[in-house]
Amino acid sequence: MSKASCNQDWEAVIGLEVHNQLATDSKLFCGCSVAYGSEPNHHTCPVCLALPGSLPVLNRRAVENAIRAALATHCTVNERSVFARKNYFYPDLPKGYQISQFEEPLATGGWVEIPTDGESGEGEARRIRLTRIHMEEDAGKSIHDAADVTRVDLNRTGVPLIEIVSEPDLRSPEEAGAYLRALREILRYVEVSDADLEKGQFRCDANVSVRRRGESELGTRTELKNLNSFRFVEDAVRAEIERQIEVIEEGGEIRQATLRYDPDRGRIHVMRLKEDAHDYRYFPDPDLIPLAIEAEAVRAARESLPELPEDKRARFQSEYGLSAYDAGQLTASRGLADFFEAAARAHGAPKSVANWVQRDVLAALKEREVELEATAITPEALSMLVKMVDDGRVTARNARPLVAVLVETGGDPEALVQERGLEAVSDTGLLESVADEVIAANPKAVDGFRGGDPKVLNFLMGQVMKKTQGKADPGQVRELLARKLGG
């Protein structure tokens, strides 16, 4: 944490507005594809080009997704919501207005749980309240090229978004980051969005103010626009908190403004002051009737929701005896949680499986920079391998590299162990003869041990393990050597 944001005298107050693209095949008000990365202006039609006489028709699938997102964040879905026009001129906004929701949003209330600010992450969760979730269409893309020419790509125009507005409940850049990660995880869990940051499917604006600790009044806030990665959000918010504290401490005043963060230089720029703010002249869109959502539709959507991350975390703790930290790690994505659970059930020793998933599977994924779903490892294979270790049929040392093999190419752990001759040596006669050989070959070490140097035992153990290619159980070897040397 920076010096400013953990300042003893100052407290930061942060609220976030997240624009999240809903997973649909077509745009919010027309049938055009939302496919990313096509030729500019390829996915356009009279409606999203705003040709004269065209009219919007609401995409029902987008509404269903928005309802799921609202329920997954504990919002109340309003029986009636109203689309409104937000009027402003810009070349990538063909109609001259964006269809959004204003006075009557889709959903209100709700919360997202985040781990508390403790470094360990072991603390209990904290609820960040949501003000509202509303639906809206995305604008197109303006591309300003070097020759002072602006080109407009309208493929993104009309892509369905939800805007998720939090209360000013966040108190540090780290909490802002934690909130965004938790929110993204929920949206992906309930499959309403891929929330791919690189494709701009999850974008954030941050409202930031500071006040002296103990004060209840909010300070004047500024708004940071278009923060497109978790790190930028944290960096930008941190920089803005520091800037505000500095301004006030120097006797200045914060002016309400819209700001832009330059991540390359870590600098904040003023886009416009409040006096110059747009008057968007919102009014209900007369081309669309109010959106009526019946209680039955909400009930059905609620029933179709999968278990949410926070519920899964709690259940993993109570059902599998995992710590809060382990449960948090294993529920970081729905795919990982499902994988763990399937492996744990197949094996029957969840804690053991949890260790292997957290330590070895995650490491293998990280090393290869791949998502679990994109690899060959199955929960059955992992559980089989872990079981072999737990049953003493292969040592942990020899099993660990096999996790990487399973991730890479898959396969049957039983066969892999056999092919590679990794089966543990459990033959006591064989171990005894190896131990005798080692003792005979290292008289100096044996003397050292008998002279009271316990480290020597480790050396002798290493020799035995080496001779058995790591296939012997270390505990068994230690016991054997100690007996032979002591006896």
């Binding site: 207005y97 407009v152 002249r281």
Partner: protein, 487 residues
Amino acid sequence: MTAPLGTLTELREALDAGGVSSAELVEQALARGEAQQRRLGALVGTRAEAAREAAAAADARRARGELRSPLDGIPVALKDNISQAGAEVSCGSRILAGYVAPFDATVVERLDAAGAVVVARTNLDEFAMGSSTEHSAHGPTRNPWDPERSPGGSSGGSAAAVAAGIVPLALGSDTGGSIRQPAAFTGITGLKPTYGRVSRYGLVAYASSLDQIGPLAHGAADCAALLDAIAGPDPRDSTSLPTPAPPTLPELTGDVSGLVIGLPREYFVEEGVDPEVLAAVREAVAECERAGAKVREVSLPHARYAIATYYLIATAEASSNLSRFDGVRYGHRAECDGLTELYERTRSEGFGAEVKRRILLGTFVLSAGYYDAYYRKAQQARTLLRADFDAAFAGCDVIATPTAPETAFRIGEKSSDPLRMYLSDVYTVSANLAGLPGVSLPCGFAGGLPVGLQLLGRTLDEATPLRLADAYQRRTEHHRRRPPEAT
């Protein structure tokens, strides 16, 4: 070849009798249109080639006995704010210069499906904003009864084209009276359907919550036939009503015995209305009584707020609807340096004075600090007005009023006084605000100029006012009178 065309009924009889072909009707319409163009300026363009092909196809269907509808092979004209693939759609504005629509409005598809042949596109007040068809980039349209006078507006081109015998049928659009008032001024019959009865998909929006496309023809029966071809639910227009639209033509039985006509006391006062107009309307109501209808007084206590309410809501919506004309994607683009100048110059050059006036008014009423006082208040007044009509229709089946407070005024007479111009909509705007169907039909002459009677119906009940209008026309000759031919 330049003789006026007859009514739909007459032309269909001639086609059925084999006395004329659709191809001949189309040639006659094209020739008549050209011959009348200098005098009336009713058309902004013809569709000669496409119309000839469509007429030939219709004649072939007739020969095979495969007629699609009562409109098969009949020439029609479209107001130039209705999108048609391959047609220049100008909306009477310079800002759409060179714009060729790539798609058909739903009504155009339905006309095609019915076999009707679109021969021409008709002049209008720019973006349908006006009551005189003087405010067009194509110049004014003149009234066939007296070319020194306005045909009314904004569907003045469609009204003049029917009245002058260029086409037997035309489509117009009505936002505050733009079908009914020109019908009244040119001695023909026009219908604004219930809001949502006819799809607005492809109608270039003026005020989305008020706009409706509707028919203009010589008589109520012909209007009914054209309405039946275009009405009904459309998934591309979210405000189109899901209720099926049963054909109205079979409802025109001539029997109106027991039908109750309500006369709003607020509209039958001598103030602000030409006494000859009021006398003609009273006489028409008396004729309806002689046909078996009953008459009673009703009250619309909030009617006096209708004009103010209308000009707040319509301009608010217009200011947003016309934002898309920005010079970026289509139409006129001014020479400019930079974005702000692009908007300012394109829109300054492209829009006429009346459109600018309404955009400014609408922008103002939606602005922060004024929204509640104007736009929200207007919506509340609109609700009260709807309640007035609900109460009135509890005691009657049709409400009768004059269509306009006067007969056709001179061109230029009101164009310098917008407020006076706005007051000519006093009887018509209520139907748009309440979403009700309204017919205007000729009910006499004052000073040699036609007088219009307006009959309003309940929501979705176009049939009853059409039945009364038809019954009246079976007993009277006003709708058969034609304007004098030029000498």
